[in-house]
């Protein structure tokens, strides 16, 4: 294996066996195991070894292998983050500090991509409870809301239509929708009593990116990712959410590297439950996932612009063809 392959080297194997070898090499299956399988399938051991060697010194295989190795490595990195998080005990509950200065909020939680409950940050909450699901979905005919799919707002439709289709149990319909608070005249009274939490969000309601969120009752809805940091709180009563850490991405996408998916580690994603009561807010970090636990539909308010160097940080879905090539090999 210490010399370069001949220009015209070809494998003695049939295409389906080459495909099998390639897939297993990319998965990191040990070479001895592959040879054993080939021998069991009736290939002479020497031929099996030689064919594997041909595959391994093929530059195209080596290139594809590097891409796969980097993929598994990135997943391995997320797995390290999970282990550290779990070992610290942080997976047991979302912190709910009695006192939380804005600088602590940013340095301990926001910049570190960790959730936190902010207590008592909303002032003058006495009239918030008059904003009910019934009032918004029943009386605000023309209110346009954006159903949230995969964490991204989709084409707006009227709140009445969205609520009707949701209660009819339409499959695939987002159970969360949101609308900007300041664009509608009939939401003004709500906007006028909402004071964005000082020091945490950008100054002023307009700058704070305030939005109204509607949570329908879905049948075990899948979690959705926060594409940006969200400071989210119920407008009335007590409501609960499940939060799933951002580093669980590979688990949520249904894949983990073969090395990570041993029985001990092929566990479910970590999941933190958080109960919130007006006027509490939870900071859902960008990249984290959240899932509704509601038995009743309800309303939330969010702030989506922060008093940080950048108002928010977005997690974009990469576009196909966006991949940047690695540097061209040196002469």
């Amino acid at each position: 294996m210490n010399s370069l392959p001949p220009e015209d080297e070809t494998s003695p194997f049939e295409p389906e066996w080459r495909q099998w070898l390639a897939e297993n090499l990319l998965r990191g299956v040990p070479h001895t195991q592959l040879v054993n399988t080939l021998v069991k399938a009736g290939v002479e051991e020497e031929v099996a070894r030689a064919s594997l060697a041909v595959e391994l010194r093929d530059p195209y295989l080596q290139g594809a292998l590097r891409a796969a190795q980097m993929h598994w490595k990135l997943e391995g990195l997320l797995e390290v983050y999970r282990q550290l998080f779990e070992q610290s005990g942080a997976h047991q509950q979302v912190p709910r500090p009695q006192q939380l200065t804005p600088s602590e909020f940013f340095e301990r939680y926001y910049f570190r991509n960790q959730p936190v409950v902010v207590r008592g940050a909303l002032e003058d909450v006495s009239t918030l409870g008059t904003w009910t699901w019934k009032r918004v979905t029943g009386q605000m005919d023309g209110l346009q809301v954006e159903p949230i799919l995969e964490g991204t707002p989709t084409a707006p439709l009227t709140v009445r239509e969205w609520a009707r289709r949701n209660s009819a149990g339409e499959s695939g319909l987002a159970c969360w929708a949101s609308a900007p608070l300041l664009e509608r005249e009939d939401l003004r009274p709500l906007a006028s009593v909402l004071l964005p939490p000082r020091g945490y969000t950008a100054e002023g309601l307009h700058a704070s990116g305030a939005r109204l969120w509607l949570e329908a009752v879905g049948a075990g809805p899948p979690p959705i990712p926060a594409r940006r940091n969200l400071l989210l709180g119920p407008l009335s009563g007590r409501r609960s959410l499940q939060l799933i850490p951002s580093f669980e991405l590979a688990r949520l996408r249904g894949g983990l590297s073969p090395e990570q998916s041993s029985p001990a580690q092929a566990s479910a994603p970590l999941c933190l439950e958080v109960a919130l009561e007006t006027p509490e807010l939870v900071m859902i970090p960008v990249g984290w996932w959240f899932r509704s636990l509601a038995l009743e539909p309800g309303l939330w308010v969010s702030f989506e612009a922060f008093a940080a160097p950048e108002p928010n940080t977005s997690w974009r879905s990469p576009e196909p063809g966006e991949a940047v090539p690695t540097p061209y090999p040196r002469e």
Partner: protein, 359 residues
């Protein structure tokens, strides 16, 4: 006829990038830019696209890009924080604070005074090593300056020398990266040097107390000027500086895509000459630099990229077994490309003999 190294590397590059989701058109444009014959370029692109391994790897690309975008988010948040480009220095940090604020949070820290009860702090120097263990043969890496990536090809560079001669060379050299006694030499496991192990102390509450456990403790000893270029470790490391000073550069693990990790756990970037035109993303990496001196202990979190340069003759001890139920966190899999012994894409320079003393 055997493929030339240039052809081999080009084909590997084409396959890697197709598998990473780069379009064939973009690769073709680059190949033409590098004066590859258009007919040859198209043929190789087609062969790569049809290759079973490339076809099997390509569906992973969107998932990998999604993770990369998430790591970019971590990096952008870090960049906005006061921690960016900075390493905390703490005095009298308790083990509980160390684990809660740094180890579990995956952040480096320099702790001062952690080695204050080490007899080594007063007794260790190159001269005392020469005097006490002059006849003991030690393994070291030599000829580091004869190849471009000595740490990658470390196995080729192993030489044996008596401690006395090693110290003489080290004093004579003044400043060199040519020879270095690194962790893989397992010096502290050498029975003839067991006295050294008795002169260090496992920092109580931080690492496990039994220093005799294999691979738990390592010694590093080298001249001024040694450079371990950018790489990461697959476990957390507590780096304790006993003698002399070293400069560290540290970059968060989540900036891996800016480090051009082209082989093993090594970056293609040279910390002393980072070539912005070839490695533009490295310019966006959040590099923090810190000097550790005698008595300082640095936590190098698993996966964090680092480069280390000794500013003076330096003796260091590292620990990797932490005082936790789960003793360390492993990044796996972490190796990119074939192991060095099978890396057929590069011609390896035969290591030269050690330069004579005073040379």
């Amino acid at each position: 006829m055997a493929m030339s190294p240039r052809e081999f590397q080009r084909r590997r590059w084409i396959a890697e990038n197709l598998a990473r989701g780069v379009s064939a058109e973009q690769l073709l444009a680059l190949l033409l830019q590098f004066d590859v014959d258009p007919f040859q370029a198209r043929a190789e692109l087609e062969a790569a696209a049809a290759h079973p391994a490339v076809r099997a790897a390509r569906p992973l690309a969107p998932r990998r890009q999604e993770i990369e975008a998430l790591l970019d988010v971590y990096s952008s948040l870090h960049q906005q924080s006061p921690e960016a480009g900075r390493i905390d220095r703490r005095v009298r940090l308790s083990p509980a604070e160390f684990f809660e604020q740094y180890y579990f949070r995956h952040r480096p820290v320099v702790m001062e005074g952690l080695l204050s009860d080490w007899p080594a702090s007063n007794h260790w120097s190159p001269e005392s090593f020469a005097e006490r263990f002059g006849d003991v043969e030690v393994e070291l890496m030599a000829g580091r300056e004869t190849i471009t990536d000595p740490d990658f090809h470390g196995d080729l560079l192993v030489r044996t020398l008596r401690m006395r001669e090693f110290v003489a060379r080290l004093r004579a050299a003044r400043q060199t990266n040519d020879f270095y006694l690194v962790a893989r030499n397992h010096l502290l496991q050498n029975p003839a040097l067991s006295a050294l192990r008795d002169e260090i102390r496992a920092p109580a509450g931080f690492v496990i107390p039994d220093l005799r456990e294999p691979d738990s403790t390592h010694l590093w000893f080298g001249p001024a000027g040694t450079l371990s270029n950018l790489h990461h470790d697959e476990i957390n490391v507590l780096f304790c500086q006993v003698y002399g000073r070293k400069r560290f550069w540290l970059i968060p693990s989540f900036e891996i895509q800016r480090l051009y990790n082209d082989r093993g756990f090594y970056s293609a970037v040279d910390i002393l000459s980072s070539q912005p035109e070839r490695y533009p993303d490295f310019q966006r990496a959040n590099v923090a630099s810190v000097i550790v001196g005698p008595g300082d202990a640095l936590l190098i979190p698993v996966g964090w990229w680092h480069a280390v340069r000794s500013l003076e003759v330096s003796i260091s001890v590292t620990f990797v077994r932490f005082a936790l139920p789960q003793r360390n966190h492993w990044l796996k899999p972490f190796w990119i490309g074939p192991p060095p012994s099978q890396d057929i894409s590069r011609r390896k320079a035969a290591p030269h003999e050690l330069a004579p003393p005073g040379g």
